[in-house]
């Protein structure tokens, strides 16, 4: 209990710092890949603090409240994850959080944010099956949805779930809002006509979205971590290494590809989930 409380507290207070640093590193590496010098490592923090100091503008009085709920529920979801709770519950809570963000964009009732909201929703529909299949894969192998128990398995789960891992890696691009699947909004210095789902949010509300993404990215990497960690003490290093490599691959992908159409993003995500997830699960069921 104390262990899980500690990790939740760590997540809530240290999480955004780590998440912000990752984001800063991301921008730096991206710049280097493009032959630029890039912003300082702490740039994401500068951005967020600046946004907090700006005037608050809005199209209507309640749109920002949805984003506030989004932040709260993302933190809640992450806490559940780091507490070692039920992984299905984590997924459901994350869905709820994302829905708040979509509703905020709908609420603003502006053309750009509405399109962003629709696209975000489409992305959610695209990745939801694979995310659920990931949890199901964990359950089929370890007989538990509990994250602590999943982490205590005999061998790294990726050995049993290579297909599901690849499928999850595929939709991770969507969740991290990286090209080619950054349909609803892209990140930092990307060139984009208008900022998709975040179009109508500014100042402190935009800062909240940013912070929420730091939190979110952290436990998304936690999912990757789960694939590589097992009972052996010290295996967390392997997990950490896997997360770093995964994130690096995502950055490369981000810089090497252009945004695809929603049709491709959606159908490919479902096909990947159906093909990789199904095959992997089928083999597991047959092995039993």
């Amino acid at each position: 209990m104390t262990g899980s409380t500690l990790s939740v507290l760590l997540y809530i207070f240290v999480g955004p710092i780590v998440g912000g640093l990752i984001s800063g590193l991301d921008r730096k590496i991206t710049a280097r890949m493009q032959g630029r010098y890039g912003p300082p490592l702490l740039q994401p923090f500068y951005d967020v603090f600046k946004l907090l100091s700006k005037e608050s503008i809005a199209v209507n009085g309640i749109q920002n409240f949805f984003i506030f709920c989004f932040l709260i529920f993302v933190v809640f979801t992450g806490s559940l994850f780091f507490m070692g709770g039920d992984i299905l519950l984590v997924i459901f809570a994350l869905t709820l959080a994302s829905i708040f963000m979509v509703l905020g964009a709908y609420c603003a009732n502006s053309p750009y944010s509405s399109i962003g909201a629709m696209r975000e929703l489409l992305q959610m529909m695209a990745y939801e099956p694979m995310v659920l299949l990931t949890a199901i894969g964990f359950y089929v192998v370890t007989k538990s949805f509990n994250i602590t128990e999943i982490m205590g398995f005999n061998v790294p789960l990726v050995l049993y779930l290579p297909g599901i891992f690849l499928g999850f890696a595929y939709i991770l691009t969507m969740k991290l809002r990286k090209s080619p699947f950054d349909l609803s909004m892209s990140h930092h210095a990307h060139q984009e006509v208008v900022k998709g789902i975040t179009t109508e949010f500014s100042g402190s509300t935009l800062a909240m979205i940013e912070i929420a993404h730091w939190y979110e990215n952290l436990f998304l990497m936690g999912f990757i971590f789960l694939f590589f960690v097992w009972k052996m003490p010290g295996s967390w290093l392997v997990g950490l290494g896997a997360c770093i490599i995964m994130y690096f691959i995502e950055i490369v992908l981000d810089n090497a590809s252009a945004r695809v159409k929603w049709q491709l993003a959606f159908s490919s995500a479902w096909i990947v989930a159906a093909a990789l997830g199904f095959t992997n699960l089928l083999i597991l069921f047959l092995m039993k």
Partner: protein, 159 residues
């Protein structure tokens, strides 16, 4: 400590420009000049931006657009007029449809002349704008503190 100066986000609006200045603005983002070193991001959205960078003159068609984009930006904000057309109308000043420089419609804080303005001078203009931005931030913070004291919390402003 001011973070505003470390993270100026820009919206670039093209008035009636010949696209010369626009190319130079975008050149600032390229590896050679790399303004992201200073935290500059080209947002494309007035609601996120701190600096409105306008190239080209203002005409009858786009005067409302310029005004609305300016109005949709959150305070503190500054306007940088890039290129001679944006500062005064340039060689198009006498055209029947051209109203003149950007300052005919909205207050301009920094003028960057040139035809086309060079990336170095654009960056210099933005850096100058940062100081003005900072001044405005301090003033705004003072105003907000005062206003907060004066205004009681009310439930009436729902919607």
């Amino acid at each position: 400590m001011s973070f505003l100066k470390k993270s100026p986000w820009i919206i670039h609006y093209d008035g009636t420009s010949c696209n010369g200045c626009d190319i130079e603005v975008l050149a600032c983002l390229t590896p050679l000049y790399d303004v992201e070193r200073f935290g500059v991001v080209n947002t494309g959205n007035p609601k996120h931006a701190d600096i409105l960078l306008i190239t080209g003159s203002v005409n009858e068609q786009n005067k409302d657009v310029v005004w609305q984009i300016f109005n949709q930006m959150a305070n503190p904000k500054v306007v940088v007029a890039v290129g001679i057309c944006a500062t005064s109308g340039g060689i198009f000043a006498e055209c029947y449809n051209v109203m003149g420089g950007v300052d005919k419609i909205i207050p301009v804080d920094v003028y960057v002349p040139g035809c086309a303005a060079r990336p170095e001078s654009i960056i210099d203009g933005v850096v100058k704008a940062l100081d003005i931005l900072e001044e405005k931030r301090v003033a705004l913070a003072r105003r907000r503190r005062k206003a907060r004291k004066a205004r009681p919390v009310s439930l009436t402003n729902l919607f």
